[in-house]
Symmetry: C2
Amino acid sequence: MASDYGIVIHGGAGTILKEKMTPEREVQYREKLTASLRTGYDILENGGKALDAVQAAVKVMEDSPLFNAGKGAVFTNDGKNEQDACIMDGRTLNSGAVAGVRQIKNPIDLARAVMDKSEHILLAAEGAEAFAKLHGIEFADADYFYTEERWKQLQAAKYKEKMTQTDYSQLDHSDDKHGTVGAVALDRHGDLAAATSSGGMTNKKFGRLGDSLIVGAGNYANNRTCAVSGTGHGEYFITGVVSYDVSALMEYRGLSVEQAADMVVHEKLGRLGGTGGLIAIDRAGNFAMPFNTPGMYRGHLLKRQAPVVMIFQE
Amino acid sequence: MASDYGIVIHGGAGTILKEKMTPEREVQYREKLTASLRTGYDILENGGKALDAVQAAVKVMEDSPLFNAGKGAVFTNDGKNEQDACIMDGRTLNSGAVAGVRQIKNPIDLARAVMDKSEHILLAAEGAEAFAKLHGIEFADADYFYTEERWKQLQAAKYKEKMTQTDYSQLDHSDDKHGTVGAVALDRHGDLAAATSSGGMTNKKFGRLGDSLIVGAGNYANNRTCAVSGTGHGEYFITGVVSYDVSALMEYRGLSVEQAADMVVHEKLGRLGGTGGLIAIDRAGNFAMPFNTPGMYRGHLLKRQAPVVMIFQE
């Protein structure tokens, strides 16, 4: 299925079951994923950069309450939102990332500004927001990030924690660990890029940071190999250095992007006990979207093909 | 030089020149590096765990004003200290890390507590300190972290910034990017571990985080391959996924630890334009300490050998 340009996206992996999904909600997801694909693809078709395409595609998902990133970010234990994002340019290996930002409307835009306008890669929390102010990045207040569904998820988590007298972080809550959005793209110039944005984990405490902000863990791009964005239980993606591992298996073992992505998700991640998935694309437009959860919101749109959007195992 | 147990440490790489070093200061460094080695080695010799050895060895350097970690951490732009640390167990692949903590006497102890007592890997800033309080980790106030030398370095950096009307982050300050301490060890049970702690960058702003806290960038351990701790210009270590790359070259290409470490530092890091060094040890006790800067504080102490401490190219 090689192509000379195209984009692949995900909107999170987890316990997404057909029997729990209403037809209306499924339509909403499919429409938003398609809109994200088309936004990124239009940039590619017009000769734009993969970097701009992945940023724009992620932004569409950040602006929707459906995904755990941007507008739809989950609440921390103290009723705030703390978001992470990372973007990487496969041509230059430049990257930018932000950790634990609370008031940024589109964390992926701030990650891009860090990449373009700072000599650093990773800026955190208030410091990252001070940088955002200097560079005219759009802020949003608590009202913007409030969604009734996410608030209920926080209350449910707190109730469960209280009833079981157990630190919530010790409870099973595999679902709400899996909401991350991401995009990988190949442009007409032959360049790759990857972008990932995450709203974190419901009821999280202690300033926990996940894999989405970490180059090589949740996000990686390198023209020598591939562009990768991950979604899943972040701790396992950090331990497995998952995104870079796909690249290393291609570079050092000569595996194809499909072989490398499958090995990392179905063998290595599984062996660690980790759940989730990833999307990856190489410079020939070959791509993979493996996951080991019941579902992963995902889609691809390659040169002169129709957009394809999927949610469940199929 | 294979051995069935031993420890290798570094105290930072950078523009460390023999002509700029007083004999008294050189003695201080050599003594402290030797003390760090002996502390870790004693644990190994008594049948203790590599994990405990690297933590204890790093702690000795954190407690000294000579190194940019713990007591000797450099000042941020607002006159505070923000420290990062990471520890990883090569047997289980468990790890713990903290980012941007300000009041923790020994950040490596907190990283260890995150590893042992949390289901998360990475905790940041105030959240990490709240976790520290719950788990009885020792705090230290601003007086403890104040050292005249580091304060002067901050004033000099600010003066330079003012005089040149340039954001300090854009100026050349390659020296103060290179202060990190780390240890890697092999224990009698055949297990590997790595620990890294960093005081960050003089005059840093915007909550910049470096590579030391990132599994696979500045710190990595895996019994299948090796344990690695890096020191240098952190952004390049993040871009190169340097610590995991040593492991990947061993696992996927079959390189020895010396070959893999040399290739990563002398070829790959250099190609990116990055400066620094790393230490690495494998399960046979083979080790490497490559760096591409004028000097790196470093040493090794292997089973029944004398401690060896080095500073310059030699």
